[in-house]
Amino acid sequence: MIDALRRHPVVTAARGQPPSTFTEVSATLAPHRWGYDTADATLRVTWQPLDQPEFAFHYSEDSFDCGWHREPNPHVDGDAHYQERVGTDEYRYEPIRFDGETAPELTWEVMERLRKRLDGR
């Protein structure tokens, strides 16, 4: 996961957080490389290695955040979903289907989904 993120051209740094328990990976992004201008863009990734792994890739910038998650939730049928909100509005949810299966596949898949989402903003 952390390796796949570090290799991505829009990721400038990725490290385990908090440094003691290392329960998530926090990455700093440079979306201007996609032609999208924003400051302080970050991606947080959590991964639970269950039989069917549960995970969340969550992007944040000033006044906007969105994420691709696969985890139990009361908002959509099934675990896989996309969510986003502007500022502190309520999240909007929609069910999705992931194409990749392993952590590196999912990392590249989500980064591409993010690129497209930011492209539409």
Partner: protein, 320 residues
């Protein structure tokens, strides 16, 4: 090796993997055409880059044997019947062709009669689904794989930025259970023979361990390698005082779980989750907590190792 050189080499290898992986998915004519064109490309790249790429390409292509011979025959046939075919082959932009779309052919700026040539090629190949005239190039695209372009975009980006070797390495390091080469090839988007080569190399390097199973050889991360990589990251990023503070944090996190679930070990917690009378949601929460616990215990063991041997791991000299 210069950076540009490495990038080009990785790119050339990635293109080869792509063809080898897809030739069976693509319709036969285009698959063989791609292979033939790529063989030319490898020859060119081989001269201007280094012999390894060319040798690797020839070796991989040789694995196709009969298939490649057929590709050459088809190329000869097409060359004889389609005027300007060589122009397509030589001018083929491999980035456009392989990285951005499933298959596309661009023909250099048309001169007299070129349009006819383009049409002949496209009609012979049956790939005229989409026409895109941009940046002075004519691209003929065709979505061959089911799922369309959207699904494949991330794969193309991945293949563009990570070599076949890197993709195999990242997939095999991510598997929770050892997997056969075929499975790893599928998830790394490389040919099975390529995956085997890279997995053997990774095993030689101590990155991967092979396991004999009923279904053949399976590959997974080498636990000692993974462990040491984590320790090295800790000793590179933090001094030993910081590492000692992390130990305190981790021990607290473990104590909290022990108390919350009244269990002595993660295994006890898993056993409790499987007891009759535990509802599904609760069992899932307990399994998650057991996973966290194992993760904390693992991180704790890494920290203890990093602290104990901090000076050795950060020394500038190593004994001969």
């Amino acid at each position: 090796m210069a950076v540009a050189h490495r990038i080009l080499q990785a790119h050339a290898e990635a293109i080869l993997e792509d063809i080898l992986h897809r030739i069976v998915d693509l319709d036969e004519v285009v698959g063989r055409l791609a292979l033939g064109v790529m063989y030319q490309r490898v020859g060119v790249l081989g001269e201007s880059l280094n012999d390894d790429v060319a040798d690797n390409g020839r070796r991989l292509l040789a694995g196709f044997g009969q298939r490649f011979d057929q590709a050459v025959r088809d190329l000869d046939r097409l060359s004889g019947t389609v005027r300007g075919f060589d122009g397509v082959g030589v001018g083929c932009n491999h980035t456009n062709w392989f990285a951005r779309s499933r298959k596309s052919v661009w023909v250099p700026e048309p001169g007299d009669g070129e349009t006819d040539t383009e049409q002949s090629v496209v009609s012979q190949l049956g790939i005229g689904d989409q026409f895109d005239n941009s940046a002075g190039r004519r691209n003929y695209h065709s979505s061959v794989r089911t799922g369309g372009m959207d699904e494949s975009d991330w794969e193309a980006t991945w293949q563009e930025h990570a070599s076949a070797f890197d993709r195999v390495r990242s997939v095999v390091l991510a598997v929770p259970e050892p997997q056969p080469a075929e499975w790893i090839a599928d998830h790394a988007r490389v040919a099975e023979s390529t995956a085997r080569d890279h997995l053997d190399r990774l095993a030689d390097m101590g990155v991967v361990t092979s396991h004999a199973t009923d279904g053949g050889t399976a590959y997974g991360p080498d636990p000692a390698y993974v462990r040491f990589r984590e320790i090295r990251e800790l000793t590179t990023e933090y001094d030993s005082d910081a590492l000692s503070e992390f130990v305190v944090d981790l021990k607290e996190s473990i104590a909290e779980l022990r108390e919350a679930y009244d269990a002595d070990t993660p295994a006890d917690l898993r056993a409790a989750a499987a007891e009759p009378g535990v509802d599904a949601e609760e069992a899932r929460a307990m399994a998650r907590a057991a996973g966290d616990w194992e993760h904390y215990a693992y991180r704790l063991s890494l920290l203890e190792d990093a602290i104990t041997r901090y000076d050795e791991y950060t020394a500038s000299n190593v004994p001969a």
